[in-house]
Symmetry: C2
């Protein structure tokens, strides 16, 4: 249950509603682990059935009643055990790689357009991540463990997007050369 673990990890830091999780888990993790609210409500129900989280009904004035979830000590234990257990890296499965691989079927301009579109998307994400880094970690002193643990996923995101852009540039360069 990969999504469930991400939700649990988020609920350990602070209690949240299904709605809140659906918007974004947390600064840092939530930048990558998004899911539809349907899936999140489903996982929350399952986690609660396993006593890994508990919910508290919070009535609000002028707003819908909330169901505020937080991790139980059992939830912490189970997550700690999972962390200690080796897991496999997820494979690199990207539509764009398939498109490039089969790119002989379409005019090169079509391929180049899609590559440029991806480049823009990844540049936007990179810019956003860098702003978040600036905002949340500009005065990180390097000896705050908790800040380090929140920073590292963001750092991975920054590297990941930068690498994407570098590859797009290489691809665009090589395919443009072909056209001339």
């Amino acid at each position: 249950m990969p999504l469930a673990h991400a939700i649990l990890a988020s609920l350990i830091r602070h209690a949240r509603t299904g709605y809140g999780l659906a918007k974004s888990f947390d600064r840092s993790l939530g930048y990558f682990w998004n899911a539809t609210h349907q899936q999140i409500y489903h996982e929350l129900a399952r986690l609660e059935a396993q006593d890994l989280i508990i919910s508290e009904i919070v009535e609000q004035e002028g707003r819908p009643t909330q169901k505020l979830y937080s991790a139980t000590s059992l939830g912490r234990e189970v997550l700690a055990e999972w962390i200690a257990q080796p897991t496999e890296p997820s494979p690199l499965r990207e539509d764009l790689l398939v498109k490039v691989f089969a790119g002989g079927l379409v005019p090169r301009s079509v391929l180049l357009e899609e590559l440029k579109r991806y480049r823009i998307l990844h540049l936007e994400k990179l810019t956003f991540y860098q702003e978040m880094k600036q905002h949340d970690f500009s005065q990180m002193n390097g000896f705050d463990l908790d800040a380090t643990l929140r920073y590292l996923p963001l750092s991975r995101g920054i590297r990941y997007e930068a690498e994407w852009i570098a590859w797009c540039d290489e691809a665009i360069h090589l395919l443009d050369k072909e056209m001339s």
Copy 2:
């Protein structure tokens, strides 16, 4: 249907059996797009039902009979249309990021071990990809479109693994510092 497209893309280059695809789709694409043989047989049956691929029974001496699949012209058309249609990048969902994020629950040594294990796994993949590059593309002249299209996914794999290793190094460095 993401896996189905990867299979189709592979079958456009040469006819293959389900067994062959399960071992690896193709040099380049197959380095990333692996799937179980069950899923592949399932997708092949579906693709054939849609007339995107056709199968040919090949009887062999001393070996089981093969079902050799190849793409139809309809299959090529459908794939070409899909390539032209914009698709979204897949999100970065990695167990290790969740583990780091919730790493406060375990001793740092546990986290460091898992980080080092990932580092080794990604280094192994990087080495393998670099060997494949050396083997298949060492004398690429840069004006062969087909070679370029096969090279680019591999290049992405190399960058991806190198980026992973760099991040693992950063994480190990930061967490080791914390311990001292």
